[in-house]
């Protein structure tokens, strides 16, 4: 713990150093948020195109040929182009939205403030982490405009398709190389970010800020950064090996005597499963990298709006930590249909079922804490409730998929697509929205419009269920995923369901445009917050000015006296006691 404040770096004076190549964690956090917002819009736009095609396959989407002349002759997308859009949708959403926004954006802005630090300890690395991530995004998007477009192998890029080059189809040459470069670059950015998050949490806490006095958000970001550190460190070597199979003619992933499009490939002896092992060792923790920050944000938002702490601060932290540890032991459940040894399937099935225990504990703590609480209903708390709802709905289907015998039937269907979109995609997005509505005043000095926020919530909530619940029914009906058209007899009667989903997707997407309007309008013309602590929170971000000064706390570093969530303590002068308040709390529940 640093006893006294010390200037990590001086306040910038030039525009470039202040807003572009800034060392300030708050600016970097906003930059990450802007990047995630841009990526989310791109990802959502791609999903609209796919959904329109799935509902009305022969419909010519005006202007589509501008995106790809070869992929959309006459503005109707080809099967290959559908797969290219699907790949880019998944990659952009998983990496540049779900990882970037809840972890890198909010974490960068609030983690140092919530621990009582002036900045991250390695601000140059921090700046680099954003710009590296930004370059990664540009490299990925560039694949739309290079050669025959982006890769079509899906965000998981299974070998050997991903490793055989352009013979595999459009985008499988340069598209894959750009994809692997982009993700490799992204890994570097996240590793640099994780380095800063971990050291800030461990070494930069202000006086009095013991580990158990850290808010749940800080714990969530800390646990996530430990996961990120180990997961991205594995994905990067995988990307390097993939690139080498393309550019150097190595045979890491391509087996012998593989014939593609009547061509015998020159590779020998490669292992197709090797890619899956490396990818999913990263891929499953990645699911938790996307969702655990949301758990922290949702807990933080709910506590503030319930005016009481969670049933157990400590158990919630341990549960999130258990999720992180177990997330490495379950990755094989993604490979039940990959020809793995049945004994291995069993070995991965068991921890997959076990991991539901900490997930359930987290959910029960939320529900138990909400029980009897006089919740303040606002856009942030609604999205926090929505997060819980989505997490439960999506999580329940996980029980089915954890068992190999059921997973083999459902794995290649829309059931899995519905499962991960609810539990990881929509839930994490709701966490991002909850964080946005909650912290917007602190980040910008303006309030967001609550009415529009509530409209946004209800439209998104209803819309998301209308999209993703039918996915489960489609999956049970045998609707295979990754098909661009449903011409088989047993699938034709499901097309009306797809049309309904498409309409729901457009409706939900429209709700996001309301959010975008609210965000931009409020940024410039929103109401000024009544004070520095409009939600009457207790953690350190509410102790400082709005928006926080360059060194976060002005002249004096904060001193922490209390747990992060001292609400409704009997005998206290107010219903919330700030962490910085020296007020004596005789009746505070002693959890430590």
């Amino acid at each position: 713990m640093h006893d006294t404040a010390h200037a990590v770096h001086g306040a910038p004076t030039s525009f470039i150093r202040k807003h572009v190549f800034s060392l300030d964690h708050k600016v970097i956090g906003k930059q990450y948020y802007a990047l995630a917002l841009l990526a989310a819009l791109v990802g959502m736009f791609l999903s609209w195109l796919m959904r329109i095609h799935l509902g009305w396959g022969s419909y010519a989407i005006p202007g589509l040929h501008l995106l790809s002349a070869n992929g959309a002759p006459g503005n109707v997308m080809t099967p290959e182009y559908y797969l290219q859009l699907m790949t880019m949708h998944g990659t952009i959403m998983v990496f540049f939205v779900l990882t970037t926004a809840p972890f890198a954006a909010f974490g960068n802005f609030f983690l140092p403030i919530q621990v009582g630090a002036e900045d991250m300890p390695f601000p140059h690395f921090n700046m680099m982490s954003f710009w590296v991530t930004f370059v990664g995004f540009l490299v990925l998007v560039a694949s739309f405009f290079v050669g025959d477009g982006p890769t079509l192998g899906g965000w998981t890029q299974y070998a050997p398709l991903s490793a055989i080059g352009s013979v595999g189809g459009p985008g499988e040459g340069r598209g894959v190389i750009l994809w692997a470069c982009s993700i490799g670059i992204f890994c570097v950015g996240q590793l640099l970010g994780s380095l800063n998050f971990i050291t800030t949490t461990l070494d930069m806490r202000t006086k009095g800020m013991s580990l158990m006095r850290l808010p749940l958000t800080v714990w969530a970001w800390f646990i996530t950064s430990v996961m990120g550190l180990t997961a991205f460190a594995v994905l990067m070597p995988a990307c390097i090996l993939l690139i080498l199979d393309h550019v150097a003619g190595t045979s890491f992933f391509v087996p012998s005597n593989l014939v593609i499009n009547d061509q015998v490939l020159p590779h020998t002896g490669g292992s197709t499963l090797l890619w899956q092992h490396l990818f999913w060792f990263f891929g499953h923790p990645e699911v938790y990298i996307a969702i655990v920050p949301g758990m922290g944000i949702v807990s933080h938002v709910l506590i503030t709006n319930m005016r009481k702490p969670m049933l157990s601060h400590r158990v919630l932290i341990y549960a999130m930590g258990s999720l992180a540890v177990l997330s490495y032991m379950v990755y094989g459940h993604h490979m039940f249909v990959s020809g793995m040894n049945p004994v291995s399937s069993l070995a991965f099935s068991f921890p997959t079922l076990v991991i539901t225990i900490p997930s359930t504990i987290v959910v029960l703590i939320w529900l138990g804490s909400l029980y009897g609480a006089k919740l303040r209903i606002n856009a942030a708390s609604l999205f926090a409730l929505g997060f819980i709802s989505m997490f439960i709905s999506g999580g329940v289907s996980g029980f089915f998929l954890a068992q190999p015998s059921i997973d083999i039937m459902l794995h290649a269907t829309y059931f899995v697509v519905g499962h991960f979109h609810l539990v990881m995609g929509v839930a994490a997005m709701f966490g991002i929205f909850a964080g946005t509505y909650f912290w917007f005043p602190k980040m910008t000095g303006r309030m967001m419009n609550e009415t529009l926020g509530k409209v946004h919530f209800w439209m998104s909530f209803v819309g998301a269920y209308c999209i993703f619940m039918p996915f489960h029914y489609l999956g049970i009906a045998g609707n295979v995923r990754r098909y661009q058209a449903f011409t088989d007899d047993y699938l034709v009667h499901l097309i009306p369901v797809h049309k309904f989903i498409t309409i729901a997707a457009l409706f939900t997407g429209f709700a996001q445009l309301i959010f975008l309007y609210n965000l931009i309008h409020s940024r410039f013309w929103g109401a000024i917050p009544p004070n520095d602590n409009p939600w009457e929170g207790t953690s350190l971000e509410w102790s400082t000015a709005t928006p926080p000064p360059h060194n976060n706390f002005g002249d004096k570093m904060p001193v922490v006296y209390h747990d992060p969530y001292q609400y409704s303590v009997e005998g206290a002068s107010t219903d919330h006691v700030m962490q910085t308040s020296p007020e004596d709390l005789k009746n505070a529940p002693d959890e430590k």
Partner: protein, 227 residues
């Protein structure tokens, strides 16, 4: 409205929870002298924690490469290759560089602490052994480059067979990480010359360098046993 941090906290000893608060725990405790309890007596500087974090990350990357090698070997047997003899010489060089770095670290620590070396020669150039370490590091990289160039000249490139693929990937990745260590050491020398060197920076850099040495020995054993 919240207590703002711009004001110094007002600690009134008579209201301290430690005196009759009755909750029995150590939370909210403020000692009678008005000073907050020290949650942790010592906090390592971020450079010290950071270097462990970096080493953990690199360990994971090389663990991934190692498991890739093992899984790939299970798919199709590797063709045995003979490692270039210069690698063994390079191993001695990198071990020697760790020794010289440790000498440098101790001398600089003594220098920074105002103590001379055993001969009482305080004015001796404290960077001397760092330069020697730097030179040994560069010699190691040169030796590795020599090995790669020789192999390529013999027709054993990256794609010659999977054994060579792994050989190049592992040795080049190690060399790239080692170049980072050399950069760090050059930075330490620069800071030493400017008298802005922190002890934690020196310790972190030397820890990283030793780690590179240990990693190389591990890789050599792996390559020797598996290829």
């Amino acid at each position: 409205m919240a207590t703002t941090v711009h004001e110094p906290p007002k600690i009134e000893p008579e209201r301290l929870p430690s005196q009759g608060a009755g909750n029995g725990g150590w939370r909210n405790l403020v000692p009678a002298d008005g000073d907050l309890r020290r949650v942790k007596s010592y906090s390592p500087p971020p450079a010290s924690t950071g270097i462990w974090v970096i080493m953990a990350s690199i360990t994971m990357s090389f663990a991934a490469f190692t498991s890739a090698l093992i899984v790939r070997q299970g798919t199709a047997p590797f063709q045995h290759i003979t490692l270039p003899p210069v690698l063994y010489l390079n191993t001695l060089v990198i071990i020697a560089s760790s020794v010289t770095l440790e000498i440098a670290r101790r001398r600089i620590a003594a220098f920074m602490g105002g103590r001379g070396d055993k001969n009482g020669d305080q004015a001796a150039n404290p960077a001397l052994w760092l330069y020697i370490t730097l030179a040994l590091g560069l010699l190691f990289v040169a030796g590795q480059t020599f090995a790669w160039v020789r192999l390529r000249a013999q027709g054993f490139g990256l794609a010659a067979n999977i054994s060579y693929s792994f050989f190049y990937v592992l040795t080049v990745m190690h060399a790239l990480h080692l170049l980072g260590g050399l950069g760090g050491m050059a930075r330490v020398i620069g800071k030493l010359q400017n008298a802005t060197l922190r002890r934690s920076t020196l310790d972190a850099t030397s820890r990283y360098w030793h780690f590179m040495g240990v990693l190389w020995v591990y890789l050599l054993l792996l390559l020797w046993m598996k290829l």
